[in-house]
């Protein structure tokens, strides 16, 4: 007779839901007599071991990046999961392409022709402008701006982390993608690559709470930082003093100060700029121009080395996705660089922020005159 782990009377238990459990026969087959206790270390020991392993890994992963290689290797192994999920989408696209009617194709063709003509006319203007720009730059002895190399990539239809704004794209280290690479679409900046695998890579969108991006108001040239809010389709401009000229409809472009994003790519449109009672800074919200949420095709950009810094600005640490633990202090004065440029009162660092009116005049000046430094 076989001994099993079935609890006494489980088969007849009045509350047993459904059939009784026929379990553990796998083990009884292998051993003549089933051991009364589980093999190996006790359950509690295992719990302690694995819980401490988790805690250690979390600490190490958070503080150092030893585990980055492990993560990369393991996530390459998980590519099949992404592939399987993406399969129906790929198949759907293929079907759609193959079963479109002739009329629909013809219509699309006409539309594309019109679009191409329009774009061509724009391009002609652009070529003239570019030539002029280069000539003027030569006159100024500035480095000529070269256009960036661009590679089209496709999104994998996966939804990796519900509490972060991240996307997975189908180009990886094999195609020369690198960490920190800008990702844009036809209408603006989308985000940057945060993790590269041989076959695919993960990018953080500019709306993620962990992302900040130095931008410039196209109309006035005012430079500031656009931080993600975590909400889809919303960015927040930080530390915009109340006297700054900024209004809804203003276009924000990358300033290139980070040395990572090429300058003058559109980022967002201001949708709200208002002074709230009792607040020292303006509340400024902006909506990304890129189609962050519904876009299948993205572009990876390789900025030319002189592209971002052609204006002779100091190289600042780039718009890295900041780890939230080290996120910038809300206090703009503390966030200002170690060597403030302007007439900041002496010992600005000790002032505790926007509470008192005195540093009010100094803070925005500092913030405007110096490159954003709220990122480590």
């Amino acid at each position: 007779m076989r001994l099993t782990h079935r609890p006494c009377g489980a088969r007849d238990a009045p509350y047993a839901w459904g059939k009784s459990w026929k379990v553990d026969e796998f083990d009884s087959k292998r051993r003549a007599i089933k051991p009364l206790f589980l093999q190996g270390p006790s359950l509690t020991t295992r719990l302690v071991v694995f819980v401490s392993a988790s805690l250690i890994m979390m600490t190490v992963d958070h503080r150092q990046n030893y585990l980055e290689n492990v993560r990369t290797a393991l996530s390459s192994a998980l590519y099949p999961v992404y592939y399987v999920i993406n399969l129906p989408v790929t198949a759907g696209g293929w079907m759609q392409e193959n079963f479109t009617t002739r009329i629909a194709l013809m219509q699309e063709n006409t539309r594309l022709h019109q679009q191409a003509t329009q774009i061509k006319s724009h391009l002609q203007k652009m070529a003239a402008l570019e030539a002029e720009n280069e000539r003027l730059r030569k006159l100024l002895d500035a480095a000529p701006k070269v256009s960036e190399r661009i590679l089209a990539a496709e999104l994998l239809a996966v939804d990796i982390d519900p509490y972060a704004r991240k996307i997975v794209i189908d180009k990886g280290g094999r195609d020369g993608v690198y960490e920190g690479q800008p990702v844009v679409d036809a209408d603006g900046v989308m985000g940057q690559v945060i993790r590269v695998n041989p076959l695919y890579s993960t990018a953080m969108l500019i709306t993620d709470t962990g992302h900040s991006l130095p931008v410039m108001v196209n109309r006035t040239g005012y430079r500031t930082i656009a931080a993600g809010t975590g909400a889809s389709g919303q960015l927040e401009l930080q530390h915009v003093a109340s006297h700054i000229d900024i209004k809804p409809g203003d276009l924000l472009v990358t300033s290139g100060l980070d040395g990572r994003f090429p300058p003058n790519y559109p980022v967002a449109k201001v949708i709200l700029a208002k002074q709230e009672a009792g607040q020292f800074f303006l509340k400024v919200k902006a909506e990304p121009t890129a189609h962050l949420e519904h876009n299948r095709e993205v572009l990876l950009v390789w900025p030319k080395p002189d592209g971002g810094l052609a204006m002779g600005q100091p190289q600042t640490p780039a718009a890295t996705p900041q780890s939230p633990s080290s996120a910038a202090p809300q206090n703009p004065i503390a966030a200002a660089p170690a060597t403030p440029v302007t007439a900041t009162p002496s010992r600005p660092v000790e002032r505790s922020g926007p509470a008192s009116p005195a540093p009010a005049s100094a803070a925005p000046a500092t913030a405007t005159a110096t490159p954003p430094d709220n990122i480590e």
Binding site: P7, K19, F26, K29, L38, A53, H62, L74, V81, V158
Partner: protein
């Protein structure tokens, strides 16, 4: 007859786990997104209860790490919760099996809540707290899914 089944149920377990991962990251409309059940946690609960000698604390930890890698979260964030769930289920698997359905539902809800609470703490420490009550919605949907999930898995593994 049961023995041949037992042999290939290892593959079946692997398959269900793979399916759980696929379901975890398959895209959903934004409105439904918060209600996405915790598939991997449900799979861990089920297998720890049904086959505690095969799927236990160690396997659960590995699955947690895999989930961390897939979702790009801190390594160990999900593993911690998974380990704890697996421990509780393996410890009490004989009792949970005999519970009537509604009690099982309560147990599942509690386990998922513990798991989500641990994850929330870790996210809080990192400063990434989700600012909506919908964070807990997946616990409810997981609970409501349990009767179907467990009966399907049981018919697959136990009868032929």
């Amino acid at each position: 007859m049961h023995e041949t089944q037992r042999l290939d149920s290892g593959w079946f377990i692997l398959f269900t786990l793979f399916a759980a991962f696929v379901l975890t990251i398959i895209p959903l409309p934004a409105e439904v997104e918060p209600f996405r059940p915790e598939w991997v946690a449900l799979a861990v609960i089920y297998w720890c209860m049904a086959q505690p000698l095969r799927v236990g604390v160690g396997v659960a930890w590995l699955l947690g790490i895999t989930l961390d890698i897939i979702q790009g979260t801190l390594l160990g964030q999900h593993a911690l919760g998974m380990t704890l769930i697996a421990f509780l289920v393996v410890k009490f698997h004989q009792r949970i099996r005999t519970f009537p359905l509604w009690q099982q539902l309560m147990i599942v809800l509690t386990l998922i809540a513990i798991y989500k609470l641990l994850t929330l703490w870790i996210m809080g420490i990192l400063g990434k707290t989700p600012d909506t009550w919908l964070y807990w919605a997946s616990g409810l949907s997981s609970m409501l899914l349990w009767p179907w999930l467990s009966s399907i898995l049981r018919t697959k593994t136990e009868t032929k």
